[in-house]
Structures are given as C-alpha cells and as structure tokens.
Symmetry: C2
Subunit: 343 residues, 2 copies
DNA sequence: TCAAAAGTGTTATCCTTACACCCATGT
DNA sequence: ACATGGGTGTAAGGATAACACTTTTGA
C-alpha cells in the first residue's frame, strides 16, 4: 500500500488500427519494422515484421489522448482520420515487456480509426494490408475457410486433449466451441479477439511461441525449440509486440459497431451504389449478405438517399448512386447495418 | 516530432465504479474526500465532495492493469469483485489537470466492477450510494422525472437560444433532442454519458462551473461568479474531478451490457425470485419492465433454472426461487435480458 | 374477504428471412 | 442472346408486446 502510493510513472504509447476498404477488401495500415525481437542471439538475418503505427503520448503537447493520436498520425501518414474510437488500454507485462528493452515498461492505448481509401500508399514506410493476411480464419466470404477445418480444429483438438484435468478439458472444449462454433452453434463474426486469444493461449500463433521463448530467456531457463512450422500451417502473419491483439480488438469492435452505428459510410466515397456498400460491409464483417434484404434494410431504414445519378459501371445494368443520409442520426436511436449471414 | 519522441512519463490512476444492487436500488461505492478544489481562495469551510475510489497503478508490482485494480480495491474495501470491465482511458488536460496540483498530469483508466451487496458498508471511508443521487434524471421508474420537464428542458432551451449562429442552434437542438428524447423520439436509457456531457457543455452541471472557474484562475482572468443555484435546481450531486463522467460511462455501459450478456446475475444473490431479478434490472436500467414478458423471456431464454425451493416472502403468494443457469453461455451467442420499457 | 404478488394463456403485430421474378445494359 | 448486376413483390415464420385471466398466500 505505502510503496504503491509512490508515483510510478510510465510511458504511454498510442497505437492505431487505421482501416480503409480498398477494392472491396478490408485493409489496415501497417509498418514494416526491423525485428529486434527474434533471432538476435541466434545470429539470423535481421528479419522484418509488421506492426501497427504508433507514437508516444506527450502530455505537455496534447490536451487529450485522441488529439495526441491524431497529431502523430497526420504527421506521419498525411491521412485524414474520420471516425476515431478508443479500444482498450493494455498494460500487460508479459506480452509487452518481454519484447522491450529492460525497464521500458509501457502502457499502450489502442485506437480504431476509419478513413477513406486513397489511391497511393500514405507514405513510404507504411502500406495498406489486407487484414485477412493476419487473420485468414476470419474471412468467411467464400464459405467456411479450409484453414479452420484442416489446421485449426485439429490443433485445438490436440490442445484440448493435452489438458491436465477433466475440468480443464471441459473448459477448453467449451471455449473452442464458443469461439469457432460447431454443431448447432453458429459462427459469430464479432468474436475476433476471443478467437485470437484462444489461439494464443493454445500456443498456435507465432507470437505465443515468441513470447514463451523471451520469457524463458529472461528467466535463464531453456526453451524447447518448437518444430519449424510450414507456411501453410502458420496461422496468419504475426505482428510485432501485441499488435495483432490490438488489431483483433479493432476488427471485432468494428464488426459489432456496423450493426448499430452508421460507421460504414466513413469507409465509403461520398456516393456509391448499394452493391458497393454491401461489398464494404461484407469485407469488414467477413460474411456474405442476402442482397435483396440488404437493399431493403438500408433503403427503408433511411440510411441512404438517392443522388439521382447513375453509376457507369462495367457489366450489368447501371445502378443508382446513393449517399449517406445524415438525418438518420436524428431519427433513430441506433441506426446501423444489421448483418445476417447468407448470400 | 522530435520533441514528442522524448519519453514523457505520466502517472496512471485506476478508477473504479463499483456497483451493487441493495434494496432494489442501484448503488455505487463512493468516498467522501475533503474538497481541495473549491473555495480555497474564498476561505470557505473545507467542504467534502464525493469521489470514486481510486488507486495508482504500479507497474513494478502488478502484471496487468486489472490485477492492479483488483489489488488496491481488495486492500481498501474487503470486497470481492466479480465481473470487471475496462471502460475508458481519460487523459484530458482540462477536466483533470485543472483540479490537480501543478505538473501532476495523470492519465486515468476507468473500470466498471460488479459485486454482490453485503449488509454492512465495506469500510469506514467508503459508503454505498444510490447512483441516482448523482443522476436524478436517469431514473424513469416513476415515469419521466419532473426534473427534466421542470428544470433541464427549460435550461437547455435557454442554452440553445444562446447559440451564436443558426447552425450552432440547430446542432444544439438536435443534440438535446437526441439525448433527452421528445416528440417521436423515445428515451434511450443507454445514453447516460451523452446526457451528462451535454449538461456539462451547457454549463448546467456544477463540475462545468467549477472547471471554468479553475481555468480562469489559471489564466489569471476573472470569472463571472454564477448566481447561487438552489438545491432543487442543482442537477444531481457533483463529484470530484471527472468522476461523474466515469460513473456516467459505467452506468451507460452496464445498461447496454445487460441486454446481451448475463451480467445482472453478478449483482444477485445465488438464488432469487423472478420479481427480484426484474427489480434489479429495472434498478440498473432505470425503466420499468412488463412483468409477464420479462418472466417469459428470462425463463424460456434459458437464463435461469428453478431451484425447486420457494421464497418465504411477505405479502403475496410465495414465489419459486431460481438460479442463474451457467450453461446459457455455451448455447446462445449473446444471452442477456432484453429491456423493453413499460410496466 | 381483500390485497398483493405469482403464474398461465392467447392474440395481434411487426420484423426477419427466404423465394420468385422482372428489368436494363454491355458484349 | 445471354450474362451480369439492378430492382420489386410477397409470403412464411418467429419474436415481441399487449391483453385478460386464474392461483396462492398473508393480513
């Protein structure tokens, strides 16, 4: 108590998952950074890893956390952020400090930011990346991903079997079922974080192995080097520190928000066809939608209004162009695009 | 950029809105603290203000933020926390630093924690307080509060009229309507934070006046002392720093969560009657529910199961006792108690 | 016997979901 | 002509919200 009262100051990092929809695919802004974590003592070539952009919070310069975030993002990327939402504040020692220099304990505040896609990459250091590159199992637009049936379920099954008590086995089994569905339980596209954390705890994701190795090194114990995983068996491209966890939080939150807030429009150009809008929602939520019902919902829900113009598209009848109808916000308490699977 | 890269460390405060339902009323744990903010230069008697309990985060002692929170809460209050959820991280300069000693910039992480009510107050410093003492306009169980019609709407009307441009007036009007309902727009019990922030910005809440005074003092300008507000016109009991904002966030979040997560049960004793459960939901959400439909929803939804025992209650037929059915979590993706007004 | 609360049954309505079908344009 | 996407109508099913009514206890 008395010791805890001493003011212990820490550094605050602001991390952003900056999202845009490009070519009907969900993208996130990533940075390729030289990997300091891996392979140093092993003398490997200094490989690069992907990470989310981040910057420090300087209380002397910025009045609020969000202003601080917008500050360095606009400096570094020349993007203009629309919707910005705070996700979560992580202070974890294990996943963060294990990868930092000694004594560099930091707390990180994760943000979700939406922006309209521009043609060119925002800067030389940054690039837009299809987020399913990091979360291949989250894309159900072509039906249930083979990866789940072929790799994830079998490996989870092994992990469940490895339990030390029957209770643990039951818990693990329930959790896997809840996360990935099965039998009579449907896929819930919002549980992105829960799934990632499950895979992490089951040691199936590269960050888990990396962190275990780091922890073992810190404690001076040896760590049994796991067998090389083939690229097909690698569950998505890993990221620096706990950035993939932050991204998982962002995706899950955005998928949820879509349903009761008109946030898709932050990702769309000023005018669009209904199919373009549908494709954007599908890209983010990772599932296909029923065309006719989507249109009805969106139109009769007052979310959009026709501009009167037509889109000059290839292949097919020209579609009417719509724009976001700002007034919904004044009318309905929770206007959003309800997502019901099936296409 | 270069200056911002210098690591600026800050102190982290963990704030908790610890909630319990006692006698069918929603309570929050508060601390009476001597008010250093008000009346110092005015030589007033050092009045006390209510505040939320908080403690510092010591990264050397605790592995995660939540562990740190649980640590000092259990030290200080001897309560055992059940469900704990992170709410938001505030780094605001204006609302926080204005009230702190110079240079004491801190970032605070707000938490919502649920616990079962015990008979006695958790310690001498702390007390359970009906949260509607701080938010009288949030209690609609006796119909729409007079306070809204008598005080809030007229004062908001004045604030709207005081706008400097027609656009601002329209925005203010829309916002007030969205927050407090009206005409064809129903009351939305989840918008607790939005309402508090509106009242703050309209200068109707004591914290707003306090902060303006502080800011004026800091800049050396004079601040026009507002007319004394009568206790009837005071909009709820104010709190220290931005604690009422944190509490507003907590209430709103809990009201929302009720609907898709079985969190009410964290506030209930192990077994309860359906009416007791309903009263708890009503207490938290601030609206009355339709009895028959509530029962059907809860029973047929598989949220509870009968214990087979009866409650020995005063007045009326004895009711069957139920308990939370843990297995719902394995069956339904989003089990909760949907709330639809009316009683 | 009455008040208070527990319970049961039924119906109208709306929303969701699915299916069937026609329309306009480019190749 | 046909492929592609745009656009309309409607009917089945389920969930919700409202209503009326019976039952069991304590005072």
């Amino acid at each position: 108590m008395s010791a805890a009262k001493k003011s212990q100051r820490v550094e605050i990092g602001l991390h952003a998952a900056i999202v845009a929809v490009i070519d009907e695919l969900p993208h996130v802004l990533v940075v390729r950074r030289p990997s300091q974590e891996n392979g140093q003592e092993k003398g490997e070539a200094c490989a690069a890893v992907y990470g989310l952009p981040f910057g420090p919070f300087d209380p002397a310069l910025h009045r609020t956390l969000e202003i601080g975030l917008r500050g360095w993002v606009e400096d570094q990327t020349s993007l203009s952020l629309g919707y910005v939402e705070q996700l979560y504040t992580f202070g974890d020692k294990d996943r963060f400090e294990a990868n930092s220099a000694e004594g560099e304990r930091a707390v990180s505040v994760g943000y979700l930011a939406l922006t309209r896609a521009e043609d060119k990459p925002p800067s030389t250091d940054n690039m837009w990346q299809n987020w399913y590159f990091h979360f291949p199992w989250e894309d159900w637009r072509e039906g249930d991903p083979e990866l789940i049936a072929e790799v994830i379920r079998p490996k989870l099954e092994t992990w469940i079997q490895e339990s030390e008590t029957p209770e643990q086995e039951a818990r693990r089994n329930d959790r896997a079922r809840l996360c990935f569905g099965g039998e009579d339980l449907a896929w819930d596209e919002e549980k992105v974080l829960e799934r990632y954390e499950l895979l992490y705890e089951a040691g199936l994701v590269e960050e888990a192995i990396r962190d275990q190795r780091m922890q073992a090194a810190a404690m001076g114990t040896s760590f049994p080097e796991p067998p090389e995983t083939s690229p097909e068996e690698k569950l998505g491209e890993p990221m620096q520190f706990d950035h993939r966890r932050i991204l998982a939080t962002a995706i899950g939150r955005l998928r949820g928000k879509l349903k009761y807030r008109p946030v898709v429009f932050e990702l769309m150009p000023p005018s669009f066809t209904l199919l373009e809008l549908q494709k954007a929602v599908e890209a983010v939520s990772g599932v296909n939608l029923h065309k006719q019902n989507f249109r009805r919902l969106v139109e009769s829900g007052g979310l959009v209004e026709p501009t009167g113009k037509q889109s000059s598209r290839s292949g097919g009848r020209p579609a009417a162009l719509f724009e976001f109808r700002r007034d919904v916000l004044k009318e309905r308490p929770a206007p959003g695009v309800r997502v019901h699977g099936r296409g």
